[in-house]
Amino acid sequence: MTTIIHPENAAIEGIGEPCKRRAGVAGKTWRARGLSDRAIAWLFVAPTIALLLAINIFPLIWMIRLSFTSLNLSMSYLPLRFVGLDNFQDILTDEDVWARLQTTAQFVICSVALQVVVGFGLALLINRQFRSHSFWTTIILLPMMLSPAVVGNFWTLLFQPQIGPFNYLVSLFTGLPPSSFSMTGEVALAPWTIVLVDTWMWAPYVMLICLAGLRSIPDYIYEAAEVDRASSWRQFWSITLPMTVPFLMLAVLFRAIENFKMFDMVNLLTSGGPGSTTELVSITLKRAAFEKWRTGYSSALAIILFVTVFGAANIYVKALKRVKQR
């Protein structure tokens, strides 16, 4: 068996010049067999790169190309025209698209804010030791383990105005007749319905991230605070919260990106309705691409969304780094 010692490591190995020669001999042996270290490295990496190129980079480049064309798959007999930036202009001057972006922003802000509050609260509770702690942790984590399709259908039944238990529960507390309101069918309630269900499903995820943050705070800091007779409230504001902020910011980043792309759960719950009240931009994109078959237009919309999320995430990551440095 041939042992290869890298020249940089020769001094550490304490072998010196003869070793370099030996390494040279070894290198020659590999070359004689036709494979250098670099070639082996490439051999291992090549399938991944090929796969990445085939299913990620190539479609991306293809999509960029299509975004400058008039392609409509339901009318593929029409000649393909290069339309320059027309699709982008159409999108950016379309009031409906702006309205959908606004709806998406409202959904992202409300649901992420609520998830952070609920998730952090749950993490503070779960961070304490109490009886049946593991059992409750598992129960709390259950919703995020479910498929969004299951969650969508399950909540649709719960919200059914005539037989759904949710309306009966509300009527117990408010005295309103159960069938007098529809959570998914009323303009005023439907946006809150999707926020509620998303929070129910994903607050446990935020809780997990916050829990990791809480457990990373060394005990001696709290002990020192207690020596200084700091109250629990003061400990929370001066130690717990500042030290978990980077984790909270990370949770906000993950959830905001995910919610910006939210499709399945909302599609099942409201189909974007009533009217277009809960039509998130991902639903608009799906309708343009796979129901209206406007491939050129939807490619342009996908690029705009990608750039928006990518840009916003980059600014956010820079802010996160600054917070961490502090």
């Binding site: 798959l73 339901s74 105005p161 005539q162 069938s179 069918g185 129901e291």
Partner: protein, 456 residues
């Protein structure tokens, strides 16, 4: 000892080889037989008539030896699923029962095999079928003798009502006291609204009931297929009959605005709560659970409803889509059967169509729960008596009107879904604004398609 072990293992090896050879030989021997067993895949929606078609298809297999395989997809994803399949030139379907509005796109994109030569060769005449179904399901361009499908499943929007409730003396007298006329299936939309208002919130057999069930679904085609039944009858037209694609003043005419307002009033006054995104299945559920007095739905479901143990038989009645102040139409449903151009089994698929077009097969199709479009079946003297909903079906098929069947139909449909749902369900803007925006949307779509749209 070693020798006997070696002999034993060589015996095992010999046995294994013989077994392998036997299996291989028998596989080779049965290969021609396997190649001979033919199979066709038929794609359609998953609903009551599909079960009838499976039953009917057994006769075809018996006669031809061709196995039938079925790919049925729920209505809500039917268009997405199969248009995607056709767009990508897939080979899943040999035969497809595609929606009437697909015909333009299917013809222009060459997704379907043109059937003119085949019809001529097999002496299948389109004159033998109900004219509305030929125009609606087979022809592209419309009203020209270019056939891309054989009318397979005639259908239209109709209504069911609770005959048992309507005939109760106390309900009859209460209605007469309020409206000064007898309670009977409505002939006009005004009458329908009165009846719906009368039943809304009324307690029958200790249960609160509602007036009417109408389509409100947002995602696919639901609310459009519902609202057009009112719009047509109030004076809405897709375009100027003399200037094709001139929509201004037709789609958004004052009469069309009144029709849209009426649909919203009906939705607000007389439907069950929570039905904000409801289509065929929700209607069936509402009717079967005894929740509504009247239900808008497709004729295709009526055989199943008539057989329902709770609301069927003597308890159910049927009526034609009521007239409006300006006209009397109903929305066309139904589909034609086509051969998919990318199929590897086109000849077998054509053989199926030839078999399906026979009068005896069409007669059995109707008996099993499908709706034949063959004149020999529907014009037979005993047809009106063959089912309690047959007379209404015949009457409806004479007054049908369809949505656009252009290649861009999906865009046109989704635009209408959005504008109508925004106004009717989400209470956004006015009817005039909704229809003006619809004209703007449709003008843009036709522009992209290269059609000249006259504004005045």
């Amino acid at each position: 000892m070693r020798k006997s072990a070696a002999r034993k293992s060589s015996k095992w090896a010999g046995g294994a080889l013989a077994l392998f050879a036997g299996v291989t030989l028998s596989a080779v021997a049965t290969q021609p037989a396997a190649a001979e067993s033919k199979q066709l895949t038929l794609c359609w929606a998953a609903w009551d008539p599909a079960s009838a078609l499976v039953e009917l298809g057994k006769d075809f297999t018996k006669q031809s030896g061709i196995e039938m395989k079925y790919e049925f997809v729920p209505w809500t994803s039917y268009a997405d699923r199969f248009l995607n399949e056709l767009n990508s030139h897939g080979k899943l379907c040999d035969l497809i029962i595609g929606d009437s509005q697909w015909i333009g796109g299917a013809a222009e994109n060459n997704w379907y095999v043109k059937l003119n030569d085949f019809f001529d060769k097999e002496h299948i005449s389109m004159d033998d079928f109900v004219p509305a179904t030929v125009v609606g399901y087979s022809e592209w361009p419309k009203n020209t003798p270019n056939y891309w499908a054989l009318p397979a499943m005639a259908d239209a929007v109709g209504w069911t009502y609770r005959k048992d409730w309507f005939s109760r003396p106390e309900i009859q007298s209460a209605f007469k006291a309020k409206y000064g006329r007898d309670l009977a299936p409505p002939k006009t939309y005004e009458e329908l609204k009165q009846i719906a208002e009368f039943f809304q919130g009324r307690e029958i057999d200790g249960k609160k009931v509602y007036g009417a069930y109408i389509f409100t679904e947002r995602g696919s085609e639901g609310i459009t297929m519902g609202v057009t039944n009112v719009l047509y009858n109030y004076g809405f037209a897709y375009d100027n009959p003399k200037k094709p694609y001139q929509m201004q003043g037709y789609v958004n005419s004052p009469d069309a605005v009144k029709g849209l307002e009426f649909y919203k009033e009906l939705y607000r006054c007389c439907t069950a709560p929570g039905l904000t995104n409801a289509y065929m299945q929700e209607g069936l559920d509402a009717f079967k659970s005894g929740q509504v007095a009247m239900q808008m739905n497709w004729f295709a479901f009526f055989p199943g409803l008539y057989k329902d143990p709770n609301v069927g038989g003597e308890k159910i009645g049927f009526f034609v889509n009521p007239a409006g102040p300006k006209a009397h139409f109903t929305q066309l449903g139904g589909q034609g059967i086509s051969v998919v151009a990318t199929s590897d089994h086109k000849d077998d698929a054509l053989a199926y169509i030839k078999w399906f077009a026979q009068p005896s097969v069409q007669q059995k199709w109707w008996q099993l729960g499908g709706y034949s479009a063959l004149k020999a079946v529907v014009d037979a003297t005993d047809f009106p008596k063959s089912a309690p909903f047959a007379p209404q079906f015949l009457e409806s098929m004479a007054i049908v009107k369809d949505f656009w069947a252009e290649p861009s139909y999906a865009q046109l449909l989704l635009d209408m879904q959005k504008r109508v749902h925004d106004y009717v369900v989400a209470d956004k803007g006015t009817a005039q604004q909704a229809l003006d925006l619809l004209v703007k949307d449709w003008t843009k779509v036709f522009g992209e398609q290269g059609k000249k749209v006259a504004s005045e």
